[in-house]
């Protein structure tokens, strides 16, 4: 369970550029729930994810995962508990390394790295099986360098890397935004399958209103660093984009235009 209390972050405090990105945010996420976050640019969605992952130090408030306060932990230690897929496919994978080496890195995310040989035959079989689920043919290219893959393939790999260690929290930061519609659909499908299969607690930021309605059992909208409105699974069902817009009184055309 993710429990966020009174989380605050202000950029450039005390200057004319001062900007409140997180304004006393409270958020409780039950284990296994799939929460979608929407909001216009600058609403604080990415700041929230960066604060949870540890990338960004916060000014105040607490973040707890299954009762453990993860606030004091640096990024690499939080990685033991949570996994993240970035918007940019280039960030989530190591380009100069092979597919199997990237998978190995993710495989060991939650454990101590030993001086034992990494890419054992057993692990390679495991990786092949996992990649086969994607249906992209990556399972036959285990030793290919990741820089040779397309953006969509890299993002699919990032997703497999993120979900395979069964993290206690999965953070998806507009992870399909940089992909063409077909690939975006494919990656989204794989996401939903993995989240359901492992029962992952998931926080997904998206600009895509259709995705926001179609996926997840909870929907929240951020505005000016606050969680403005939230919908549960019941209220989400049968929602249309028009209703969603009306409901959230979305004034910002940017959201509407970016689906």
């Amino acid at each position: 369970m993710l429990s966020i209390k009174q989380l605050c972050k202000t950029f450039y405090p005390g200057t004319p550029d001062e900007k409140t990105a997180l304004d006393h945010v409270d958020l409780e996420l039950d284990t296994g729930s799939f929460c979608v976050v929407i909001g216009s640019n600058g609403a604080g969605k990415s700041t929230l994810l960066n604060a949870i992952s540890g990338k960004l130090p916060v000014d105040g408030g607490t973040i707890a995962l299954d009762g453990e306060d993860i606030g004091p932990l640096p990024v690499h230690q939080r990685a033991r508990l949570l996994a993240r897929v970035f918007q940019d496919p280039m960030i989530g994978t190591a380009p100069g390394m092979s597919i199997e080496e990237n998978l190995l890195l993710a495989e060991l995310r939650a454990s101590r790295r030993s001086l034992k040989f990494g890419l054992t035959a057993a692990r390679r079989r495991l990786f092949r099986d996992r990649l086969a689920l994607l249906g992209l043919g990556l399972e036959d290219r285990l030793d290919a360098r990741v820089e040779l893959l397309s953006g969509g393939q890299r993002q699919a790999l990032s997703l497999i890397m993120a979900v395979s260690t069964n993290p206690r929290l999965l953070l998806l930061d507009e992870h399909t935004a940089a992909l063409d519609p077909r690939t975006a659909g494919l990656v989204m499908e794989a996401t939903v399958r993995a989240v359901a299969e492992f029962g992952l607690t998931t926080l997904m930021v998206t600009h895509n209103m259709h995705h926001a309605i179609e996926y997840g059992d909870r929907l929240i909208m951020m505005e000016a660093g606050r969680i403005k409105l939230g919908l549960g699974a019941e209220e989400k069902r049968g929602l249309t984009v028009e209703e969603l817009v009306a409901r959230f009184q979305i004034a910002d055309d940017k959201i509407l235009l970016s689906d």
């Binding site: 690499h76 990685a79 190591a94 380009p95 390394m97 890195l105 034992k116 990494g118």
Partner: protein, 303 residues
């Protein structure tokens, strides 16, 4: 064909020397290629290793212990550079220049004077066999075995769980961090080990040539870089093994080239200009090939 004879006569000496410089070239390659951390510390760590080893030998310390201490001193120097970069956000090259400059004074302090003659003391070569000390042809297999152990050691390490993690830090630091890898440990340890190799090379050289000199590091960096680039041109760097062999093979070829040029009559004072021009051309070549309109893609390095 007088020059040819003098060149051929020098082949064994040059070969033995180049195997020592291979340690430095490897010490330059590791941060540069594996960690994406262009590092200049070796210009200071190399003489540091030589000075520490020289002083210890001159007071009767066992050569093996003297070399170990020299390598540890180099390790500390490399760790300092990496720490300065990580903690204060100072550009890696500047951090290296700072540490290298400070090391010059430290090296002088360690030796107490600008050079020490070591002909009369025990060293690692004379310890193993008295003839080994003077016969360069005999030194070659010994030194080749030493650098071979280093290359194999790294080859093994980079296949382990930890080693793959270290490579990820160079390939994509942000991703590495998100996969639970401590960037500080990997960077400080990696740059430290690289400088330890340079210092070890310095310790070997002072024993081989019979004296330690505080100025022995002058220009070593550009020589090592030239060696690395030649090696990569010959061997390539498409796999971990190739990347590890490149500096060793490169050092062997480069120093033979230098020896050949000197035998041809190139004034030694012009050597730095020639080496620098060579490195520049090799680095510029990929962008020149693309033509003027071709987009220049700078290497991805940490700032």
């Amino acid at each position: 064909m007088d020059f040819l004879n003098s060149y051929i006569g020098l082949i064994p000496v040059t070969m033995a020397q180049s195997l020592i410089y291979a340690f430095v070239a490897t010490g330059i390659m590791l941060p540069f290629r594996i960690l994406s951390f262009p590092d200049l510390t070796s210009e200071g760590a190399f003489p540091l290793g030589g000075c520490v080893c020289g002083v210890l030998l001159s007071i009767g310390v066992d050569p093996l212990l003297a070399m170990t201490v020299a390598a540890m001193a180099g390790f500390a120097a490399g760790c300092t550079t990496a720490f300065v970069h990580l903690r204060f956000g100072i550009n890696t090259l500047l951090a290296g220049i700072l540490v290298m400059t400070m090391l010059y004074s430290i090296n002088l302090r360690i030796m107490g004077r600008s050079n020490i003659a070591l002909f009369n003391y025990e060293n690692i070569f004379s310890n193993i066999h008295p003839d080994l000390n003077f016969d360069y042809t005999m030194k070659i297999p010994f030194l080749a075995a030493l650098i071979g152990i280093v290359v194999l050691g790294f080859f093994w390490f980079f296949k382990t769980e930890k080693g793959v993690g270290v490579r990820a830090v160079g390939a994509n630091p942000e991703m590495a961090e998100a996969q639970g890898i401590n960037i500080w440990t990997a960077t400080i340890g990696g740059v430290g080990i690289a400088s330890a190799l340079s210092a070890f090379g310095g310790a070997l050289l002072v024993q081989s040539q019979g004296f330690a000199d505080v100025n022995m590091g002058f220009g070593i960096l550009i020589n090592g870089l030239a060696a690395l680039i030649i090696g990569e041109a010959i061997i390539g760097r498409n796999s971990v093994l190739r990347q590890l062999l490149a500096p060793v093979v490169g050092a062997m070829v480069y120093y033979q080239l230098v020896s050949f040029c000197l035998a041809l009559g190139l004034p030694p004072s012009d050597l730095k200009l020639a080496t620098g021009a060579f490195v520049l051309i090799m680095l510029a070549l990929p962008t020149l090939k693309k033509g003027k309109a071709g987009a220049v893609r700078p290497e991805k390095l940490r700032e």
